[in-house]
């Protein structure tokens, strides 16, 4: 900011005060405020798998909820990771982080005093948010997220709280059920949801129950009395619920109540269940106690945390456990990682009140020089690749001994993701590939996705050429798990209503039937990474369009709606509109966006000498992204 002013000099003998003023003004320049940085710190040389998210609560009103990330593979701790990934979020992550969990390919964080659940991808890039008043904790089941909240959508004079059901695909609230006072953690077991009613607002009249909610009817069917002021509930492998009851902080002491099991008299600020052990954080004696989830006995192994000021967060994982020290709540906390032999592996300085931890399987891309990747218009991921038998199978992409289906998907990505320009062959009829972008493709006005192939037209002829049509299917990540295991919809092409189109076709390929080698391609035609000796593909078969013209085997080019049918330079001819989507009964459906795209070879035909008709793919573009 520039400060403009004029110096009035009417009385030269009195210019001292003016001079001083001028100095003051010049000295007081103010910079544009820069977003909070992320700061990487190397904390260890020890390597673990994946990464760890650390949600630091921050104090109420401070707007300092902070999501840090520990890359366990490089031993680097990144403060304010969310900020680096989402620098354009107005007023950052928010006020008071209260829970963090992953489900499917997404990361969910409850920001209590911002009254929202922040929805991110596993890299912590913002996808959306769900506004829920005074939300506390999360649980997931199927394609639903359950969120406990101290107040319902309409404040209750009795101060009862609610559990909200949220559709993870649309991020909208679908149902709400009123439970007890100030519900905290929740847990799902056998299609029932259990939520702790803490009564935390009613100092002298704490609640002491678990509400049991039937997930089908979404009604409270039972209340189980556990202990005064229950805040945490976790299920063990045996299907027992462990509840931490905090007592009244006066005469009634805290305890862990196993529903249908014993009551364990111990302070229990936090709990984490790993395998057949329940790890209980005794914050008063500053130790981590281990109980068997089979016979509830206290293990002789107790981890002493005597150097801690305020033991707070806890997460036990297969290879290590993590405990946080919240210190005095208003300054940086510390995250400690321990091996199960009690040895401290490393520690890292966190934000204020590191309360909630969440492990992710794969380490994030943590090159901070490029942390803000804009959405890419190109394929980012190949989820499935299963070609029909054919002369280019095991070649495009190349199979190497030891490759499994996942490895083949990675090779497909190398070929066609991120505009790589390579080619993937889908083989004979039914062979398919499923891919996605780093974002959902929106269904906007006009065509949405262009899918590239290797079709061409005969020179001087507009009607015929090399057309190996593939049908396009699309799918939304309805259950939010990041995998293409949801309902597929076909994009209706010009032959959809053709009487010769068989919508219920299938084909079984067998290893034994792999005898079709032609003179040009003599590698196995059966996908070598398939361990089974046969596989069957299902779908629609289009009628053959092959004709012989001037001695050339060519195909009639279809009007619209198929991959590898028109040359790539014909943008419209190779582009698809999500609005064409129909369901299994052929009825149109309106999809706001799609997460996954599948293409399969739609003609079942072998010609001499060109071999089987097989759809090839060389890439795909989200037409709504400009880059």
């Amino acid at each position: 900011m520039h400060t403009r002013f004029q110096i009035l000099k009417p009385f030269t003998s009195y210019h001292l005060p003016f001079t001083i003023l001028v100095c003051v003004l010049l000295w007081s320049c103010r910079k544009d405020e820069v977003v909070y940085p992320t700061i990487p710190t190397d904390v260890t040389d020890e390597v673990q798998q994946g990464g760890l998210y650390v949600l630091c609560e921050g104090n109420m009103g401070a707007n300092k909820a902070r999501l840090d990330y520990m890359n366990l593979e490089t031993g680097t701790y990144y403060s304010n990771w969310y900020g680096a990934q989402n620098p354009k979020q107005v007023k950052e992550l928010g006020d008071v982080g209260n829970d963090i969990q992953t489900y499917g390919s997404r990361l969910y964080a409850v920001i209590n005093c911002s009254h929202k659940v922040e929805v991110m991808d596993l890299q912590a890039r913002h996808i959306g948010q769900v506004d829920i008043p005074n939300c506390r904790y999360l649980a997931f089941h199927g394609n639903k997220m359950y969120v406990s909240a101290y107040v319902g959508s309409i404040a209750d004079p009795e101060l009862l709280g609610s559990v909200f059901e949220v559709d993870t695909a649309t991020l909208t609230i679908t149902r709400e059920v009123k439970v007890g006072h100030q519900p905290d953690e929740l847990c799902i077991l056998d299609d029932k949801l259990y939520v702790t009613n803490s009564g935390g607002y009613l100092t002298n009249r704490y609640d002491s129950t678990l509400s049991v909610i039937d997930l089908t009817s979404f009604t409270e069917i039972q209340k189980i009395t556990v202990g005064i002021n229950p805040t945490r509930v976790r299920a063990d492998e045996q299907g027992h619920l462990w509840v931490c009851s905090q007592g009244n902080y006066k005469d009634i002491k805290p305890q862990v109540v196993v529903v249908g099991g014993p009551r364990i008299q111990t302070p229990c600020a936090n709990i984490s269940i790993q395998g057949t052990h329940a790890y209980i954080l005794d914050n008063e004696n500053k130790e981590l106690k281990v109980y068997s989830t089979i016979n509830y006995n206290l293990s002789p192994v107790t981890y002493h945390l005597s150097s801690f000021e305020t033991p707070y967060g806890l997460l036990a994982t297969a290879d290590a456990f993590y405990v946080t020290d919240a210190k005095n709540y208003v300054s940086s906390g510390v995250l400690h990682c321990y091996a199960y032999d009690g040895r401290e592996r490393w520690q890292a300085l966190t934000g204020d009140i590191p309360g909630h931890l969440c492990r992710v399987g794969e380490a994030m891309h943590t090159d901070t020089t490029d942390t803000v990747t804009p959405q890419s218009a190109y394929i980012s991921r190949v989820y499935e690749y299963l070609p029909g038998m054919g002369q280019f199978v095991n070649m495009l992409p190349k199979y190497e001994t030891g490759d499994d289906a996942q490895a083949m998907c990675r090779k497909c990505e190398q070929a066609i993701a991120n505009n790589a320009g390579g080619m993937v062959c889908l083989g004979g009829w039914g062979g398919y590939i499923t891919f996605g972008f780093d974002h959902p493709v929106e269904n906007l006005e006009g065509r949405d996705i262009q899918i590239l192939g290797n079709a061409y037209k005969m020179s001087g002829n507009e009607t015929y050429g090399s057309s190996e049509p593939g049908i396009v299917l699309v799918c939304r990540d309805e259950n939010g798990n990041g995998l293409p295991d949801d309902t597929w919809y076909e994009l209706k092409g010009c032959l959809y209503d053709d009487p010769l189109t068989d919508h219920h076709y299938s084909r079984t390929y067998t290893r034994a039937g792999d005898t079709l080698q032609n003179p040009y391609h003599n590698q196995p035609y059966y996908p070598q990474w398939i361990t089974a000796d046969e596989y069957t593909l299902y779908g629609a078969k289009l009628p053959s369009q092959t004709e012989k013209i001037s001695g050339q085997v060519v195909q009639r080019i279809l009007e619209y709606g198929y991959v590898d049918n028109k040359p790539n330079k014909d943008k419209d001819g190779t582009s698809f509109d999500i609005a064409w989507a129909v369901d299994a009964n052929g009825l149109p459906v309106t999809l706001p966006s799609v997460d996954f795209v599948r293409v399969y070879t739609a003609v079942d035909e072998i010609n001499d000498p060109t071999g089987e008709i097989s759809t090839e793919i060389t890439g795909a573009i989200d037409l709504h992204i400009n880059n």
Partner: protein, 674 residues
């Protein structure tokens, strides 16, 4: 010596108000409503050892300030905590010792808030204010009530007193102020002379503001690209307040007077709350009623023995309600009562030696009720006794000394009687040259900040075993003043070292989400204050006035070397801060004034929490305020018009993080007096 001058001088010295007695005599038109002809030289013994910072009369009115809090920003060594807007809480922190170490005196009697120890200075209007003074340490006059020896820093607010010229019986002052945030602020004051010695004053004010203002958050990426740029409107910052004050003054003899003052304030306001992600408005409401009546009687016998009696009764009611359905619903009522008595005596043993003794007693009670949970009334009370002894003497003309000791004994609700605490203070002033107004002043003082009812008894958080927090101050000051027909200059620079121990802080209890209050924390404060006040009386009846302040402070936490914030600057204390005021006034031949006043305030970078990290960094802020005014005399009436533009460049800033301050805003005042 004119009789009235003597009376006025006496009042000034005794009642704790210091008038600028050496000020060169200027065109009396300049000061129509100030005292005329104060021409006596005071007894050297009663002169200030600690020179207070003072804003008074016209100078106070010229500042673009609405409340006492706004005016206090122009004092050195003062940090204002301002939550923004007309109704936002404003408290001050003197020399980084914490706002509860600062006592605020209203016409000589301390304003109390036994519940949280905070006085919201944003509620005290400047319209009825004649003078604001800040003393570091204590007022260096040993004739004062015992409590006045008790705080680390003292602010004295003095309301307007009636002065009648011969033949005058009534003064009326009526004023209307409009401005941004929907501000409407009428004020009326009446002074009536009832007899030769007795007069009555009345002052009433209504303040309304809808409190809406635009604020903006803008952040950029490291490469300069805009990350976000959002402008929103502040909500729930409205305020509705009525203040009514009445006083009866009986200056019945040269030496004695009796005064009684009643104050009543009602208000309803929204608490706009912190702006955080996804939250752009809040729903907390606050209703207040503050009532007090105080009486003061003072006289002198045998020219040697002065006595003062003070009595006060206060009754404060607060109702807090949270309408925000998303948060913890609250509906609490608090009723505080205070009864206070003070008896002070001073004896002049010799012309160069004074002694004083004072005893104060105070009873406080707080009744708290949670209406929402329908719980029974919680009741807390406190009995406080203060006994002070002080002495002052001169060694020749150049050395003056004062020493005081205060005994404090506070018994809280149902607690056993505690041992009294003793706190000393020593003040020295050395003036080497009789003809040059250059002095070297120094003091050492201890003072306690006692735990409040909230610290002791707040639900689940209070700790009844708290000890008082101790502040030790060491300060040296070099002051120089030179007055001439053409100018009036005063400069001073002081260095201070303060140490606050047993600091009362909230600390986690070892159980989740739970805090307790503990005596944990030591803060070391080193600071320098530099001040320059300059007035130049220019040709053609122009007057140029400037006032410059600069403060450098380090206030570091030295509680525990293992803390991550060890030796970090404590929250919200800037290293650098300062202000500059520049005023130019022209007086026409017939006495009309025209002037403009420019003021600049700078507060340097700070941290919002104990730890000095980039995540707790708060940007410096600085504002430019401008006011233009004119004053006209028509027959025996005076008219005044004033236009203020505050935050002229529209800086988007925060004093407290997440509490955005208003951008450019204006106020316009029209006043009429006779």
């Amino acid at each position: 010596m004119k009789r009235r001058s003597i009376l006025i001088l006496f009042l000034a010295l005794c009642a704790g108000t210091v008038f600028a007695i050496n000020e060169a005599e200027q065109d009396s038109l300049y000061r129509l409503f100030q005292i005329e002809e104060v021409e006596v030289s005071a007894r050297a013994l009663t002169k200030d050892i600690i020179v207070p910072q003072t804003l008074k009369g016209e100078e106070l009115q010229r500042l673009a300030a609405l409340s006492v809090a706004d005016a206090l920003r122009y004092f050195a060594g003062v940090q204002l905590k301002d939550y923004g807007g007309v109704g936002g809480i404003k408290t001050i922190n003197v020399r980084s010792m914490g706002s509860q170490h600062t006592a605020v005196f209203y016409n000589g009697v301390q304003l109390g808030n036994a519940q949280n120890g905070q006085v919201d200075l944003g509620r005290f209007s400047l319209d009825n204010m004649e003078q604001i003074q800040l003393f570091h340490g204590q007022k260096s006059d040993i004739f004062q009530s015992a409590r006045e020896f008790g705080a680390a820093g003292n602010i004295y607010l003095t309301t307007r007193r009636p002065y009648f010229k011969s033949g005058e019986r009534t003064h009326v002052h009526a004023q209307m102020r409009f401005g941004s945030f929907g501000l409407a602020n009428p004020n009326i004051g009446v002074d009536v002379k009832l007899s030769e010695t007795l007069s009555f004053t009345f002052d009433a004010e209504y303040l309304y503001a809808n409190g809406k203002y635009k604020f903006r958050y803008k952040r950029v990426l490291p490469d300069g690209e805009t990350a976000y740029d959002t402008t929103a409107v502040r909500h729930n910052g409205d305020v509705n307040a009525v203040r009514v004050e009445m006083g009866l003054h009986d200056y019945y003899s040269n030496t004695g007077f009796f005064r009684i003052h009643a104050y009543n304030y009602w208000s309803e306001r929204g608490i706009p709350g912190a702006i955080v992600n996804n939250v752009w408005r809040n729903g907390e409401r606050l209703w207040d009623r503050n009532t007090f009546v105080q009486a003061e009687w003072q006289d002198e016998w045998f020219n040697r023995w002065s006595t003062r009696l003070l009595a006060k009764w206060a009754n404060d009611f607060t109702h807090y309600k949270n309408y925000d359905v998303k948060l913890l619903p609250s509906n609490n009522e608090y009723l505080q009562e205070e009864a206070y008595l003070s008896f002070a005596n001073k004896i002049q043993v010799f012309n160069w030696w004074d002694l004083s003794v004072a005893y104060d007693f105070q009873y406080n009670v707080l009744d708290k009720q949670n209406l929402l949970l329908d719980e029974s009334v919680e009741h807390f009370d406190r009995y406080s006794h203060w006994l002070s002894a002080a002495t002052a003497f001169n060694v020749q003309e150049y050395l003056r000394l004062q020493a005081s000791v205060l005994m404090t004994q506070i018994t809280n609700h149902q607690s056993p009687i505690t041992k009294p605490k003793f706190t000393p203070g020593v003040f020295v002033s050395f003036r080497p040259y009789p003809k040059i107004d250059l002095s070297l002043n120094a003091f050492y003082k201890q003072s306690y900040r006692y735990p409040t009812f909230n610290d002791l008894y707040y639900t689940d958080l209070g700790n009844a075993d708290l000890r008082p927090e101790l502040a030790r101050q060491h300060s040296v000051e070099l002051a120089y003043r030179k007055t001439d027909k053409k100018y009036d200059l005063s400069f001073s620079a002081s260095y201070y070292y303060n140490r606050v121990t047993d600091k009362i802080i909230a600390y986690p209890k070892g159980q989740q989400f739970r805090w307790t209050m503990l005596n944990l924390g030591t803060v070391k404060i080193n600071g320098v204050d530099a001040k320059a006040d300059m007035s130049f009386y220019l040709p053609l009846r122009f007057v140029l006035r400037t006032r410059l302040n600069y403060t450098y402070q380090t206030a570091i936490d030295v509680t525990n070397p293992n803390d991550t914030y060890y030796k970090d600057q404590i929250p919200y204390i800037p290293r650098h801060s300062g202000s500059a005021v520049l005023g130019l006034e022209w007086t026409a031949r017939r006495g009309d004034h025209y002037g403009f006043n420019y003021s600049f305030i700078y507060v340097g970078e700070r941290y919002s929490q104990q730890q000095n990290t980039v995540y707790n960094y708060v940007q410096p802020w600085y504002t430019h305020d401008l006011s233009l005014y004119g004053e006209w005399g028509i027959a025996r009436y005076r008219l005044k018009a004033d236009l203020e533009i505050n935050n002229l460049l529209g800086q988007d800033y925060e004093v407290i993080q997440n509490y955005p301050m208003p951008k450019q805003n204006i106020r316009c005042t029209l006043a009429f007096k006779y």
